[in-house]
Structure formats: C-alpha cells, structure tokens
Symmetry: C2
Subunit: 470 residues, 2 copies
C-alpha cells in the first residue's frame, strides 16, 4: 500500500486520471505472458513525458517504492510482474514516432510505441528494422529494448541490441541520461546504451530511443524442407553455413511440433516427418535466386525427403504459416503453455533437441521443440497444467535439466526472453558467481534502494516456479 | 616503486624472465602513440595464461598497484600510458588463435594476437572479420576490444563491438568471468560483453575473446570522385544513402589533405580539388556492379568534377593509396601530429568540416581533415610541435571548439579512439554529468581500489593536454 502522501505526490505529477489504483485496474496489471506468476501492484501510473518519469522516479526513490516499467507485458520470464508491489508504469501517453531520418537512416521513438507500427512506418519509406520478435504485433519498442528481443532474423541481421544506437533514460535517482545518437561510431566512455539493452527495467526507465535502420531487402524467397530425422536437418543447417550462405531465417520444427501443428492447421504436413526446416533468403533478386537454389541442393544432398520452394510471395507466406502457427497450435492442447528459449551454438542443435526429447520422456512431461535453427535459439515448449502441482514439479525439473544441458553444450539459459524471475536461479550457471557479482555491483551502483523492477535477474534464493506460486 | 615484497610475489607468478624493471625496459613501455604523454611504469609483466593474470591482479589489488593492460600501444588518447605508474601488462605469451570454428562462424583468440594475423587466418578459410582499424597491422585484438576500434568499413559492417560475442576477463579482484560464447543470441543478465568492449582496460583484463565472423564478400570494387567543394561531396554521400545504397567504405579527404597527400605521394591528384570521395562496394559481383554504376551516376548528378572507377583490383588498391597515405603524408610536415576523431551524424559532415576549417583559421593552427564520411567519423589532424607551448595552447583550444561543435551537431567527442586521458575533460559534454556518474558507479563497483588503468576515462579535473605535460 502506498502512503497517502506518496499517492498525493504522484497524482500531482501525472494528474489523477493517470494514476489508477482501483482493484480492477490493479488486477489487469498484475501479470504478464508468463504462466503462473501474479502479483498485485499498489498503483498504475501513466507519465506523459520524460519529465514526469523523472519526477515519479524521484518520489519512488525517496519513499522506496518499487517501479515496474511495462510495455505490453508479452514478457515470458515474469519480468513485468510486479512481484514486490509498487508502481506499474505504462507508456500509453509516450508512443510516438518522433522522427524518421532518411539521411542518417534512423528512427527516434518513444518507449510505448508498438514495434510493428514502427516497422510499418519505416517500411513505407523503404527502410528496414530487422528484429522481429514473435510478439511484435503487440510488444512495445521499449519492451523489446529492455529484453534485447530477438526473432526469426537474428542469424543474418542480429537482435535488438544491434539496432539501438541512442537512448534517453531515467536513472533510479531521477537523473536523465542521454547516450549515443544518430552515430554509427561512438566510444565516449562505457557503453551505457548496450548496458541498458537487456537490463529488464532493473537499471532505469527508457524514455526515448534512436534505432538504426537499413535499406529494405529488395526481394524475399521461402522454402520448406522435410526430413526423416533431426540429425539430417541439423546437417543441412551446418552445410548451408559452411557453404558461406547466411539465410535471413532458418527455422525448424521437431516431430512432436509438426504433429500438433498439422492437427491444428491442417496444411498437409506429413506428420511422420522427423523435422521441418523453413528457410528464407532476402536481398537482391539475383543473390536470393542463387542462394535459394544452392540451399535447395544442399537440402537434397543432406537427405531431405522433399524440398518445396515457394513460387510466389503468397505461397511463401503460406509455407511460413506452419512455423508461425506453432505456438498457437501447442497452446490449445493444455491449460498452461511454457515456452522456453535455451540456446546453443548452432552446431549443437540436433544434439540439444534429442536431449530435450530424452529429458521430457524421463520426466514424463510433454515438450515440443521448434525455433531458430540458424542461431541455435530453441523454443522447447511444455504443455502442462499449472494447477497440477505434481506435474509442475516434473516440468520444473525437466527445464532445469534442459538449461544444464544447454550450458554443457556451450549455450545459455536464455537466448531472447530474458532472465526475469523465472530464470534467476539459473543465471550463475551461465555467468558464474563472479559474473553475477559483477552484474549485482552494477545494479547496486545504479539503484542502491532497489526500486527498479526489484526481484528480477538476481535470485533471492533458489526457489522455483512452483514454490513461488504456493 | 614497487615494494620488494610485491616484486617478489609477482616474479614468483610469472618467473623473473617475465618481470622487467630495468630503466631501458621501462622507458620502452612509458608511452603510446599519443603525442606528448609519457610516464614511467614501475615494472612490465608478461603473464603466460589466465591463471597468471588472475594471480597478478590479486597481488595488485591487495597492494593497490595500478595495472595498465597494453597491446601494441597504438592508442591515440594516451589510454595505454602508465600515468600513475604500476605494472604495464603485455601479452606476448598470449597471442594464439585458439580455434576457428567454421560451423559456428567464430574465431576464439588470446588477447595479444595481432589483428591482421587473425584476419589473414580467417580469410584463408573464406571468412571475414570486418573491423579494420588503420592500425590493424600492429594492433592487438584485445587492444581493439578495449577501445571498440572502428575502421573504414564501419558504415556497412559496424565496429569491434558488433563482432565480440564472448569474452573471458579477469575482474579487478582476480575473479575470472566468462560471458557469451558461440552464440548469436544470449540475454543472460546484463551485457557484460559489450560493457567490457570499449572500457579501455579500466574494468578488468581481457584474457580470451570469441569473435563473430561472416562469409567473405565475393568481390570488391573501388571508385574515386573529385569535387570542387565539400558541400558537393557531402551531397553525394547523402544521396547515396538516400538511394538506399550502403557502400563498404565511403571515405573523404578535404582540400588541405589532398594538397599534402599529393606533395607526398605524387599520384596526380588535382590539388585544387575541394574534396575527394573514395568509395568501395563489396558483395556478390552483380550487386557490386550495379551499386558502383549507380553511385557513379549519383556522383555525377551531385556535381563531381570527375569519377574514376577502378577497372581492376590493383587499380582499386592504387586509388585507395590516396586515402591510406593521408596520415603518413601529414605526419611528415611537423614534429607532432595530433589525430582526432570527432564524429557527427553523416548528414552533418560537410557542415562539420567547414566548421573545423573556420576553427583552425581562428586559432591559427594547421588542421587537415579526412575520414569516414559514410559514418560521420572525421579525423581532423593537426600538424604542430609539442615543444611550442604557445601553439599547443591554441591547438588545445581548437580541438576543444571542435568537440563542442561536434556535440552541438548531435555528434560525439570520440568515434573510435576512446577517451583515455586526453578526452576525459570532455566526456561530460557528451554524456552529461549524470552519464559520467553512472559510468563512475560501474567503475567503483568493479574496481573499488582503482587499480585498473587509473586516470583514464574519468577526469581528475579539467586539465588539458598542455597542462598535463608541464
């Protein structure tokens, strides 16, 4: 509960219409896309500009009130759940495109802008913002920045980090910092820009961002290859790369996923296939033609059962529907769907997927795996029921084993979703205790009162999802 | 002076043959490529592995002995000058390529490896490491990482930061931290990898790095365009980009530089030309042809006096010699050459170069400007004499005015050289006092005893180069 005095100060900053604390409002903001986490905030606040954000943060810092900055809450690691109460800050009043600069190839945006709205606006001018998280239709750009969101095009084009070149953010003491700018090169001191990217709202509040754009690829072409085994699909991936071709996307579905997708979408996938690769290339027409042709050959050479190259963009779109409908298809099977993002070097994809299957079997849980084969970013997805405590314990054990295996193979616990609460017990597996200490040192230096999204990234203990929920 | 006890402990770690403290050794390591800075260290130490580095750092941390990690000391901001004494750490025993992974497109290296040696090794396998700082023939890879080195290909390919995907480094307390890996995606906690990149040796010592590689471009083509004015050249740059072409390099020389280069190299440049653009495109042959043709048209449309497209790679090389010989040509004019790297949004290039000319005139100093037009990274270069205190004051004033103007135009005080000592008084101009505070918080969290390259990045006061030297 906020003190009356604090509420009064906050209402004075934003106006009472932008300070919500009715029970129904608080419930709306009590969860994100992560199953099984919920916590009621004390209030929801809607700043109209950077000045508002700074003043709100100063009040919160003085009275030690937690602040959870929240985009559209598509977060999958409970990163935007207000676990320690306090304010949820939303950016409905700060969602403008401030400038598209066609000479410097940048777009400057406010935090609450929907990613796809920005993408559409720059594409109208022949420009391209490559990061394409699956949530981009509803996610906000500051949410993407806070999580360093990835997407299907990471292999060729990189992730959000690679496109953020300037930031304005409010420090936990209320100071406003501006970094970078419309600059391809800037080494003035530590790289605060990239430190903020992926910091999950724990170091400050992003109030403006300048993003790098590139010319939009002239053409795109899509193909789908079927395999009887994961290993064969894995060989294709390796051989494409070792032939020095970097496709725009290189996605895969494992056998259990194919089955579920076909049951759902009825698009004629052979449900007995061991794996599917969906491959896209973009760029100048000559290069796309040549790469697609060569990749089709490679698919055949490495044992694809069939290879289908889309003749038209529409046919290409329909091929990608298999991949795009994966999560929707999986989500209808059981009440709870847990989508993870363990990531390994791309050469270890087949081994990792096999291991995931073994782990699922051993723990008697149902896990389907699909994801970004080109960059080793897997999405093992568990269909379960959060109300079944006994099963949830097995699910937790299975994911723990998956994370451990990913680390063993030179991978990471999270490729694009972030640590949040959910993976905080495993962070030291990836970066070691010394790495966590270094990160925590930064957290304390920036936010000594621990008001910025507290409870995220750094584990309070080694409690698991099921314990949190009890 | 090191205490006897400290010396003994350090010698025990590395062996006496790897601990140098004779006067002649110390003089060799007392300076870097920055004019007018020199300071004698207490000793030079050569670790053989990460374990050695960790043990050395622990001793230094206990006895508060400064450590300056040093590659080949091509630094241009006095970043590797041991201004507060202590140890200079060199990596002659840690300069191996540990692995080139052709499946994951990575190279894993030790810190002391010469950049060009690594580039040649990966190019033999058809792979490409784009960052190409002018010093790459002698610079080390850890030096590049510590400075986030840029180069001529920044516009199209990015800088060192964009290719470092995994690091091992020793914290100032001796802890060894490993970040990232052979991973296109990794968001496990704060981005320590990119925090270390460009941290100028002030946060820890890099002992191993994993770098991202890409397939080597199939072909390359070069052209040279002459202009009667800077503005016309600037218009070409803008129009190329707004035509959605991103060339591999887009370099320029201003009139004073052309004059000096021609005097030096006698390659037939028209010394009355107001500016030269050197343009390269790389990639698949069809695309390179098309882009070069279109860019030649644009050069003509925007008022180039002449456009020369190289018919062969050899002719291309000879065209680039004008740009490559710029620094050598300038350096022979006067005893001291100060090469700066103020950077602006690319749309502001012409305005900035004009302003530099005005500033030089006003302060009665000789400044030639060349650099990376495509990414706005200028190299205003002053020919002077460090012994002439009165002139050096004017030089300092001129550069101060140049930095201020760069900031005013939305630019930065340093695009690729780093802050070091030389630009530390100006850091707050770029990132504000709040930004410097945030950076200093990180420094204190990592290195509370201030042993790691002390005196760099953070200004002790606002003293200038000439004052330092007195």
């Amino acid at each position: 509960m906020l003190k009356k005095k604090v509420k009064k100060k906050l209402e004075k900053i934003v106006g009472s219409e932008n300070f919500l604390d009715s029970q129904q409002d608080l419930i709306v903001y009590s969860y994100d896309a992560t199953p099984d986490y919920q916590a009621i905030p004390d209030a929801v606040i809607k700043p109209k500009d950077t000045q508002d954000v700074s003043e709100i943060v100063k009040v919160c810092n003085e009275y030690k009130v937690p602040i959870v900055p929240r985009g559209s809450a598509t977060n999958l690691c409970a990163g935007t759940t207000p676990l320690e109460g306090g304010l949820v800050m939303v950016f409905n009043h700060m969602k403008d495109i401030l400038e598209i600069d066609e000479e410097n190839l940048t777009v400057t945006v406010q935090p609450g802008l929907i990613t796809l709205d920005m993408i559409k606006a720059v594409e109208e001018k022949g420009l391209f913002y490559p990061p394409d998280p699956s949530s981009m239709k509803i996610s906000t750009i500051a949410g993407n920045i806070n999580e360093c969101s990835g997407g299907l095009r990471g292999l060729k084009y990189g992730v959000t980090r690679d496109y953020v070149i300037g930031l304005e953010f409010v420090m936990p003491n209320g100071d406003v910092v501006k970094t970078g700018g419309k600059l391809a090169k800037d080494v003035a001191g530590y790289d605060l820009t990239r430190l903020m990217v992926g910091s999950e709202g724990t170091l400050g509040i992003i109030t403006e961002a300048t993003l790098k754009l590139i010319p939009i690829p002239e053409t795109k072409k899509t193909m789908l290859a079927l395999y009887d085994s994961l290993e064969a699909a894995g060989n294709t991936v390796s051989k494409i790369i070792s032939n020095r071709i970097i496709p725009a996307t290189l996605e895969f579905l494992d056998q259990p996923t194919i089955q579920v997708v076909e049951d759902f979408a009825k698009i004629g996938l052979p449900t007995e296939a061991g794996a599917i690769l969906l491959i896209e290339q973009d760029g100048p027409a000559e290069v796309v033609e040549r790469d697609i042709e060569r990749m089709a050959e490679i698919c055949n050479e490495t044992g694809a059962l069939s290879v289908q190259v889309a003749a038209t963009p529409e046919e290409g779109e329909s091929l990608t529907s298999a991949r795009r409908s994966a999560l929707s298809a999986l989500a209808r099977l059981k009440p709870t769907t847990i989508l993870e993002d363990a990531t390994v070097p791309r050469s270890k994809i087949a081994e990792m997927v096999r291991e995931i299957e073994t782990i699922a079997e051993r723990n008697n849980v149902r896990i389907c795996t699909f994801g970004h084969a080109g960059d080793g970013n897997l999405h093992p997805t568990c269909m379960t029921d959060a109300r079944d405590k006994e099963e949830m314990h097995r699910v937790e054990t299975a994911f723990e084993e998956i994370f451990a295996k990913a680390i063993e193979l030179g991978g990471t616990i999270t490729g694009e979703h972030g640590v949040g609460v959910m993976k905080s017990p495993y962070l030291s597996w990836k970066v070691g205790e010394a790495g966590v200490d270094a990160m925590y040192g930064i957290k304390q230096a920036f936010d000594p009162n621990n008001i910025m999204n507290p409870g995220k990234i750094f584990a309070k203990d080694t409690r698991k999802r099921v314990v949190v929920q009890q």
